[in-house]
């Protein structure tokens, strides 16, 4: 079944080919950050976009991934790749726990959004105070570039690693969208009662979604520490990443497989352009993000991909007539 995979492959190949065209470190820095955000955002998209459970606290999964990977490496000397697997498992488990507590309690809509935010903030305060997490001064990973340590001195190489993660997340999401589980998830988003009447086990579907979602976003957290080799509570559990994870799919097209990637590129592209005009005004890129979010909701709630689809449908209708 090829449905949907074509564009995933095309876009991945396009990004993979960029090292042939440029050697600009600025470009690779930019792309790595965008890819990390796209991965975190794919996690959000699975739960919030496809499943309709809006989270304001995906930082909790990002942070759990980042801290699990860095604590295992710094305190216990665990291999980076094993730490990666542990971090993904931890994100998934955190998703199950938070999902079990809040979905069992029947939290939906704004209430679910708020409780996820509260969990993320709780973890931020704890990480900021605990010795294990390095407290307010954070944790540093030792700089030792090698494949075994998942550290690369060449930025294009790291970009390809991040791209591989994003590619896997795209394929997983596309596979879900094409499957029975995907249909159930969409049904839960659209109407829970109707879904129940058709035999959908709503709680289980939501739990599966949030644990997969937590796993993906945790993987993004791991990439972040492997790239910057530093993490603290404000980065790992800060509201910034919760917002990035939500904004990218909203702008790119919520519930669409490529939405998070397209959205992350668009937003950060716009951010860079604004910065180059406005110079060093602090927060100017975030102001642009906010305005874009409001405009998207007001005029194009299906995001960029939704707009493209509408245009191509109109074009096809004209062509057919």
């Amino acid at each position: 079944m090829m449905r949907g995979y074509f564009w995933i492959i095309v876009i991945t190949l396009l990004i993979a080919a960029t090292p042939l065209l440029t050697s600009s470190n600025t470009f690779f820095n930019f792309t790595v950050v965008v890819l990390i955000i796209a991965l975190a955002a794919q996690g959000w998209n699975l739960l919030g976009g496809i499943g309709g459970q809006t989270s304001f606290g995906h930082a909790m999964f990002f942070g759990i991934g980042a801290y699990t990977a860095s604590m295992l490496q710094t305190h216990l000397g665990v291999n980076a790749w094993i730490a990666l697997i542990a971090a993904i498992a931890a994100g998934s488990l955190a998703g199950l726990i938070v999902g079990f507590l809040s979905f069992r309690a029947g939290l939906r809509g704004s209430y679910f959004a708020l409780v996820t935010l509260a969990f993320a903030e709780l973890l931020r305060v704890l990480a900021n105070a605990s010795e294990w997490t390095g407290g307010a001064s954070g944790l540093l990973l030792k700089l030792e570039p090698s494949l075994a340590n998942m550290q690369f001195s060449s930025r294009p190489t790291f970009m390809l690693l991040a791209l591989a993660f994003v590619f896997i997340s795209l394929v997983i999401t596309q596979h879900i969208v094409n499957s029975r589980f995907g249909a159930h998830l969409v049904a839960v988003r659209e109407n829970e009662d109707a879904a129940k009447a058709l035999g959908v086990d709503v709680l289980t579907v939501k739990l599966k979604a949030i644990s997969l979602s937590g796993a993906m976003t945790a993987a993004a957290g791991v990439l972040y520490v492997q790239y910057f080799l530093y993490i603290d509570a404000a980065i790992a559990f800060g509201i910034w990443i919760s917002i990035e994870a939500l904004l990218a799919p909203m702008v790119g097209g919520r519930g669409r497989v490529l939405g998070p990637l397209i959205g992350a590129f668009t937003l950060h592209g716009l951010g860079e352009i604004t910065k180059s005009f406005a110079g060093r005004v602090p927060g100017i890129d975030l102001m642009v993000f906010a305005v874009v979010l409001i405009i998207v909701i007001a005029f194009a709630s299906a995001g960029i991909l939704g707009l493209l689809k509408k245009l191509s449908d109109r074009f096809a209708a004209k062509g057919g007539a």
Partner: protein, 250 residues
């Protein structure tokens, strides 16, 4: 095959159903009628597992299912439609029906195949690509029916699927309902359109103010004093009887 045993349902102080029982015979079309607010929809919600009854039991094929979740009941073969239709508004008709078909088909291709087959059965085959929210009232009712049917139920609970349809639409959909029964699905239907009840049902239960006040063939039930009074108010049966006596004399 389906038994409702002495079900009572309270919402706070409101007694919506009081000690109601009914029995649906396999292969039948059974009617459930009664004035507005009688508790019919509430009883469906109890049967399908959306509400826990305050007292009483529900049994399917002599197995007690009172504690089961709605999705488990759907798996055991109970499908319901909603009086206020509940489409997946953001999806098209085919996707809507496919959700139901996934209950018994794990492979996407099989589920889609089943969905198309059901769409043909209820007369939605031309609307498969339309968005559910763009359907007419009659189209939405058919969609509600199709989704339930796609779960391949043993018993189908229809909650006023004819309400809001015009006479010609009703005429079109009655044979569809009969063909569903003929394909082996037992039907329990709430209906206000008496012409359809007379036409389709073999056995009818009457619920009024939460109590089961009568049962029998449609014709017998329509002449039942208690039923007439429930619909038209106290003393009306007597008045009607006197009137018809007067007519007989004339």
């Amino acid at each position: 095959m389906l038994q409702v045993k002495n079900v009572t349902m309270r919402f706070g102080g409101l007694l919506a159903i009081s000690d109601a029982s009914l029995d649906v015979r396999q292969g039948s079309i059974t009617g459930l009628i009664g004035p507005n607010g009688a508790g019919k929809t509430t009883l469906f919600a109890v049967i399908a597992g959306f509400l826990r009854p305050t007292q009483g039991q529900i049994a399917l094929f002599d197995k007690d299912i009172t504690g089961e979740e709605p999705h488990r009941r759907a798996a055991s073969g109970i499908a319901r439609t909603f009086q206020i239709v509940q489409p997946f508004a953001g999806l098209n008709v085919q996707e809507n029906i496919t959700v139901g078909a996934y209950l018994r088909h794990t492979k996407p291709a099989d589920a889609v195949e089943k969905a198309r087959e059901v769409a043909r059965q209820v007369g939605l085959e031309k609307d498969l690509d339309k968005s559910a929210s763009s359907l007419t009232v009659a189209g939405r009712k058919r969609l509600e029916l199709a989704r339930a049917l796609a779960t391949e139920p043993k018993i189908l609970l229809l909650d006023e699927v004819l309400a809001g349809l015009n006479p010609s639409e009703i005429r079109d959909i009655i044979p569809v309902i009969r063909s569903i029964r003929d394909s082996g699905v037992t039907i329990l239907m709430i209906e206000h359109v008496m012409q359809a009840v007379m036409n389709l049902c073999e056995h009818v239960y009457v619920l009024a103010q939460g109590k089961m006040i009568a049962e029998g063939t449609p014709a017998a039930v329509c002449n039942d004093q208690a039923v007439i009074e429930a619909y038209l108010g106290k003393g009306s049966a007597e008045r009607l009887a006197r009137q018809s006596q007067g007519e007989n004399h004339a």
